[in-house]
Amino acid sequence: MNIHEYQAKQLFEKFKVPTPRGLPAATAEEAAAAAGELGGAGLVVKAQIHAGGRGKGTFKNGFKGGVHLVQSAAEAGEVAGKMLGQTLVTKQTGEAGKLVSKVLVAESVDIKHEYYLAILLDRGSSRPVVVASREGGMDIEEVAERSPEKIIRETVHPLLGLQAYQSRVIGKRIGLPSSQLNAFHKLLSALYALYLKCDCSMVEINPLVETPDGRILALDAKFGFDDNALYRQKDIAAMRDLAEEDPRDVEASKYGLNYIGLDGSIACLVNGAGLAMATMDIIKLHGGEPANFLDVGGGASKEQVVAAFKLILSDPKVKAILVNIFGGIMDCNVIAEGIVAAAREVGLSLPLVVRLQGNNFEAGQRTLAASGLRIESADDLTVAAKAVVAAAA
């Protein structure tokens, strides 16, 4: 789950991570009022969407740039008016762009130096790791490729928490002046507390800036949250913006389906994440292109299969469907009956290849054959993959 920049700023304020003051606005009037409250001059108005590259983006109404410096409350209102309700296209949004329904009005700060600072899970040690660099303000992957020695990593013991000496070591290694080390420890401790208490999977500040008047501030941030922990993070879960998500993903999650849309023409419906990935792989191996990843979980109830078929059919690129179910505990015949009922309910007309294996699969295949529907049935995965590739060609 992602959140907007203004929401990130609210989290920083709550956990006392120093950040320039800012306020969200949903109308031009609100933006002007926010700008007035922040002192009127030396402010920046930023379109709020879940995508990068806003500064260089263009609105579909022709207005250029999703980030503007303004010098008065009136100007803030005027700029916000040109952004709100409009669609912003950036290199990350694709051609469709993203609708802007909020802007952030914030203090603009002078910058002496830009750093990079993040906390995320280090899978190797199963501990949080602080990643920092003197080279901030740009893509950290670029820095990692060009000069990996400039990226500092320091893991934190989960039962001890971040220690003060670790902040000093990190601060020194990224070249902070001695006079800033205490302030940096305060900021990093606050960030670590936020990371833990909000069940973040990642928090990234890029850039972390040092100002000419000696402040260290989090200028822009990106958050990731552990989906497994959202049940105990009601405030975070409430920040979810469904308008920013692929409507198919939203629909899928309602039925306990795991769906990811791709660019190919062969849809697949599989039980289990590993087998779902493997099914996509075998389609590709035999010359086809998968249209999606779709895991229906350990079972595969009729309701789930109906919802899954509807999702698959909402993608106009799909030319054929492969259902691959390994019936472990579940009876394959029950699954076959569910598939037939679901295919009838959605009026399926695309070629459908069903591969059932495991418990009572022979009876399942008989049920599919007797249905009178256009279903090709196979018990071998390779045979099924070749059949669906041929059907989509």
Binding site: L121, R123, R232, G274, M277, M280, D281, I329
Partner: protein
């Protein structure tokens, strides 16, 4: 001997009175597994009955282990309470805890992992895994030890070890072996979460030391470095043939593919990079999930 569990292993089930735990407790009893106790806080003194067997239910793992001699646990507890259930098994000094639960918060598992590191009695399999099966000698491998949710009947007693991060893909490999007449010593799903107990390397080490295992199928997926670490270990230490499959060759970067841990984070954890690294370690890699068993059988010749 097999690894970690044998048909004699005495098993307790945490969450036995729940719908999910109960269903799989019955399946394990039907398979012939020695399910000797259940644990559900607040329901101590009750019995879980199935097929003429009365399994006593206890309030705590400590009590259940003491009264019944159980040494292994299956955790079927909901995500919010699962870390507590795992830690209870560690505190009771069980030999093995198998966490089936999907959806445990990462921060909870991070603390569990630190506790596991500080002791050497309990091993953890999972979470978010199908569990472990050591097949028995009866019809459809009846009489074996099944802890978790895997279908027991697709197994066959034999000499091939299977280790995997996924559930149904593991069944696929097991079925390919069984239908070709090759049985398994033990099959383990280590789970799809980024923080888990036993790693691929840990399981390879156990198989390598097991006189009843001749060869190994290792199944992995995108994300993390567990498979490649295991490959490097195997190159130096493993005396037995290994075949591998890595799922996710077609997965787009940056998207979580069902499993919390299945996400391409960089250049090293793509399927292509992992396959190349494993091949460089002398491991036979199957490109098709249909060829997992065939690839191993060819490597054994």
């Amino acid at each position: 001997m097999a690894i970690l569990v044998t048909p004699q292993t005495r098993v307790l089930i945490q969450g036995i009175t729940g719908e999910f735990g109960g269903r799989h407790a019955r399946a394990s009893l039907d398979y012939g597994t020695a399910v000797v106790a259940g644990v559900t806080p607040g329901k101590g003194g009750q019995f879980f009955e199935h097929g003429g067997v009365k399994v006593p239910v206890f309030d705590t793992v400590e009590e259940a282990a003491r009264e019944t001699g159980a040494t292994a646990a299956a955790v079927f507890v909901p995500p919010a309470f699962a870390a507590d259930a795992i830690l209870e098994g560690v505190a009771a000094r069980l030999e093995l805890v198998v966490a089936i639960t999907e959806g445990i918060p990462v921060n909870d598992m991070m603390q569990v992992k630190e506790v596991l590191r500080g002791q050497s009695v309990t091993r953890l399999i999972g979470p978010n895994c199908p569990g472990i099966v050591t097949p028995g000698t009866g019809e459809k491998s009846h009489g074996g030890c099944r802890i978790g949710i895997a279908p027991g009947h697709i197994h066959k007693k034999g000499r091939i070890g299977v280790v995997s991060r996924s559930g149904t893909l593991t069944y696929e490999a097991v079925w390919q072996l069984t239908s070709r007449g090759h049985g398994q010593s033990t099959c383990i799903g280590i789970g799809g979460d980024p923080i888990h107990g036993l790693s691929h390397t840990d399981v390879l080490r156990l198989f390598n030391d097991d006189p009843e295992t001749d060869a190994i199928i290792m199944i992995g997926e995108i994300g993390g470095s567990g498979e490649v670490d295991a490959g490097r270990w195997a190159k130096e230490h493993c005396r037995k043939p290994i075949a591998a499959f890595i799922a996710g060759a077609t997965a787009p970067p940056g998207r979580r593919m069902g499993h919390a841990g299945a996400i391409v984070g960089g250049a090293d954890d793509t399927a292509a990079a992992k396959k190349a690294a494993l091949r460089a370690c002398g491991i036979a890699v199957a490109d098709s999930p249909s060829d997992m068993a065939e690839t191993l059988l060819a490597a054994m010749k």
